[in-house]
Amino acid sequence: MATATPTSTPTPQAPAVNRLNRQLPDYKGLPSTLCAGCGHDVITGQIARAYWESGVEPWSLAKLSGIGCSSKTTAYFLSKSHGFNAVHGRMAAIAAGVTAANRRLALIGVSGDGDTASIGFSHFLHTVRRNVRMVYVIENNGVYGLTKGQFSATADRGSVRKGGVDVNESYPIDCCALAIEMGCSFVARSFSGDTKQLLQLLKAAIAHPGMAVLDVVSPCITFNNHEGSTKSYKFAKAQEDPLHEIGFVPHFEPMLVDVDPGKTKVIDLPDGGKITLTKLATDYDPANRAGALNLLAQDKIERRFHTGLIYHNPSPSLSFIEQMGMVDEPLATLPQSSTRPGREVLEQVMESLS
């Protein structure tokens, strides 16, 4: 049961079963083969929990990923969901096909900073542009973990590579800013070390009726956790600066506590769910696009690292599926009677060509 108080939004006390009568283990996956302590594993845990708490049927979800340590994690949660660990960088494009084929499927995509910001950059941005309804998680560690620690395009300028010789000269890509620029209506940043926030953001993203991009700083213990890295656990822990305390109340649960409108902003989602944003140090309005871009620009300059719901468009544009004007029934299971025009149609076409 979710609660929302004016001052804080505690993680709900986990019930033994969710609204589908399923237990948390129904949302787990195979044992992880990542390095002990990898940030990605923490995210995996929160994803499982978020779907459990959101009461999503595992079979109604598809898990998509590219290639990388991060992309492997789709095997480590929700074993009862179909998973597709595809090729490096193309997951976002694949997602568009998946949702088109069965509009009823819920979708989560897990990617890495290499997978998303380098090889898959164009697909990522175009999929944002299409507004494919999905939760898109970038497990951002500033390196290519699986290929042993090369800088990724999100590595900050001046970051030092493990071993201490190489310094990154390149301008870092901010996937949040880019997503906003491409019209994304739900853009969040989080940190694998802040599981409480991450869980709420994931649940809100699941409820979001469009593409939700979560850029989660997720330290690579093996290759990017040293002094001089701006994606190390220590650095992130020290620098993380939440914009607000975020809570989420799904549509099927009552909002238990009264909210102090001066301190907590409530965002109503189309499905009846609610996001609560409780003010911390300063006021932050995630509905202000320019403000969000400014924040991110300043963060880049000042090496700050804000987390929370960076941008949320309360009146998002049509999702990809909606734009397409398709029948309600999934295309995947349409019978021949719906997909083969009648003989008279062929006759008519033949006539026009004769």
Binding site: G83, F84, R90, G97, A101, R130, S354
Partner: protein, 609 residues
């Protein structure tokens, strides 16, 4: 609209010289973007309406407006309508190309020369009719003149060759079906041309057309339309594409057909989804995503596109995800010539991707087959859970072909081995990559299947029968062997080749759009050289065992291909090495569609060696 009664009789009425009836090639040189395409189609269709078999090839430049374009029409009472070089009647409209054009004409050819270009005529071995086409239409509104001047040559050539004015009328109305006003003006201009010719010309050439009844029930269609129609009737539910000549009109026709004929009757909503992707990688990614979930998904592309799709093609093969690629081949390598035809992707598509990958290829010869195969592609892709190519080419895709009417598919769609929730209840277990039936084809479930046993994990890396990750050598090899077994199942089940056996020791093999030219070449070889040949046309790859038998039962087999590197022959050599030494090549790779004479020469030269 005027009636035929006002029309002067054609040249045939008074001509008394030697005649060549219903056997000619007309070529028109114009500039692209001037509307000449309409006039040329009217010309083609007029002949078609007279019941005379007709074929047409459009040679256009890779720009949008202002460069030379040549349209060739072959009319032949015996039905030989493949490309034939050296036109009999040439209509010179374009200043930019006229010098070259005139130089290349065969001696004795007929030339209709736009008056403005008469200064370029340097030869006296042609039958020349100087025609003031511009003069003929000078009364027309100046804005339209550039367009309708083309209709004037239709009228002139109609008079000269005895094309019926009714046929021209009808063809114009067909061409401008939606635009009555335009139709009217064009009819007027065609008649102006006719009238001018009747008044000023005296026929000096032997070429005449006369009504036959050999086109009844036939249609005129571009192959790309036929493919699109096949995909529409084949149950396409998903298209992702990126524009590329010469495949774009296939995707566009598909979208048109789907939009018109594939809306739910009750709600008006679409039973398909068509997306213009960000590039070919995105397009094939979407297709594979959709195919994984169970859509009947395809993309259309050309050479550069298949190169870009290579990696995901391997994913489709290895993770066993149905997908369909229509490759409308253009002249490669590299960007190549987008507006020229080729069969240059055969080897490349067959083996597309790194590692041990192979794919199914369908190779239609004409629009009817493009339709029929097109309507089967999803069945095949879903049945074998793999990538299926349809290899057409620019010649088929973008030229207008006379064709038999397409017949309504009667087969039930084949969705392959898909387990539903009910099946899973019954079976109580599911292993995605287990070869239950011994044919190498396993069972799959679709994402979204309401059952806790339904889920499996798809990956392009090593997997066990239960779809879990493995790096074990034995697991890997077992899976690869099963995939090879599946491919042999495919080989057995794909359509057998088409054969025409005469008992000759000399075989000819061709595929796709070479068929017409090869048929004619065999006819010529028989007539001119007394050389009887056996013929086999490959309809699909992996090649059927009949190909092997054909190769091994002929002294020599000529494989006719429209590429430089004998790509199909390379595939045969790899798969049927026992006969490799008896195979020879006839290759055509200039970018023009292949013609019978080239085939004849290619064979005769080698037979004489």
């Amino acid at each position: 609209m005027g009636t035929a009664t006002e029309i002067a009789p054609s040249a045939a009425a008074t001509y008394t010289g030697e005649t060549i009836v219903n056997d000619l090639v007309i070529e028109v040189a114009t500039s692209n973007g001037t509307g000449s395409q309409s006039a040329n189609l009217v010309l083609m269709r007029s002949i078609f309406r007279m019941g005379v078999p007709v074929g047409a090839k459009n040679l256009f430049p890779s720009n949008i407006q202002g460069l030379p374009t040549w349209f060739t029409i072959r009319a032949n009472g015996d039905g030989w309508i493949a490309k034939r070089v050296a036109p009999d009647v040439f209509i010179a409209m374009n200043e930019e190309s006229v010098e070259d054009d005139l130089a290349k004409l065969r001696p004795g050819a007929v030339l209709l020369l736009r008056t403005a270009l008469k200064g370029f005529l340097k030869r006296n071995d042609l039958i020349v009719y100087e025609c003031p086409f511009d003069e003929m239409v000078k009364d027309v509104d100046v804005k339209l003149r550039k367009m309708v001047v083309n209709m004037a040559y239709v009228g002139v050539v109609g008079w000269l060759l005895n094309i019926e004015m009714e046929a021209i009328d009808a063809a114009i109305h067909k061409q401008f079906a939606a635009k009555a006003k335009a139709a009217e003006i064009n009819v007027v201009c065609a008649r102006k041309g006719w009238a001018w010719a009747a008044e000023h010309l005296r026929k000096k050439d032997p070429f005449l057309l006369r009504r036959l009844d050999k086109t009844k029930g036939k249609i005129i269609v571009e192959g790309n339309n036929a493919t699109a129609l096949g995909l529409t009737f084949g149950g396409c539910t998903f298209l992702a594409w990126y524009p590329i000549t010469p495949s774009s009109t296939c995707a566009e026709a598909l979208i048109d057909y789907l939009s018109e004929h594939r809306k739910d009757a009750a709600t008006g909503k679409a039973t398909f989804c068509a997306v213009q992707a960000e590039d070919e990688l995105g397009a094939i990614g979407m297709v594979v995503g959709a195919g994984w979930v169970g859509a009947r998904a395809c993309t259309t592309t050309s050479g550069p596109g298949i190169s870009l799709m290579s990696e995901i093609a391997g994913l489709s093969y290895f993770a066993e995800i149905p997908a369909v690629i229509v490759d409308v081949q253009r002249m490669g390598p590299s960007t190549g010539l987008p507006t020229r035809t080729c069969q240059g992707d055969m080897l490349k598509a067959y083996y597309l991707s790194h590692g041990d990958t192979k794919h199914i290829l369908f190779i239609p010869k004409n629009p009817k087959e493009a339709f029929e195969m097109g309507s089967r592609l999803f069945d095949v892709a879903e049945h074998y859970q793999t990538l299926v190519f349809m290899m057409t080419d620019l010649d088929l895709g973008m030229n207008y072909w006379m064709s038999d009417r397409f017949e309504m598919p009667t087969h039930r769609e084949d969705r392959g081995k898909v387990l539903t929730a009910a099946d899973l209840d019954r079976l109580g277990q599911f292993a995605r990559y287990k070869d239950v039936d011994g044919d190498g084809i396993c069972y799959r479930t679709l994402p979204g299947t309401d059952h806790d046993l339904a889920a499996y994990f798809t990956r392009g890396t090593g997997h066990t029968e239960r779809a879990t990750y493995t790096e074990k050598p034995a697991d890997w090899q077992r899976n690869m062997d099963r995939l090879a077994r599946k491919f042999e199942t495919v080989r057995r089940e794909l359509p057998p080749p088409e054969e025409d056996l005469t008992g000759s020791p000399v075989g000819v093999i061709a595929y796709g759009t070479s068929d017409e030219a090869v048929a004619e070449a065999r006819h010529l070889l028989r007539l001119e050289e007394g050389l009887e040949t056996d013929y086999l046309r490959v309809l699909a790859l992996p090649a059927h065992v009949r190909v092997k038998e054909f190769l091994s039962s002929h002294r020599v087999t000529y494989v006719v291909e429209q590429n430089r590197d004998a790509q199909m022959r390379a595939i045969f050599a790899a798969e049927f090495p026992e006969s490799a030494s008896r195979v020879r090549s006839v290759l055509h790779y200039s970018g023009d569609p292949i013609d019978a004479r080239s085939v004849v020469e290619g064979i005769v030269k080698q037979e004489k060696r």
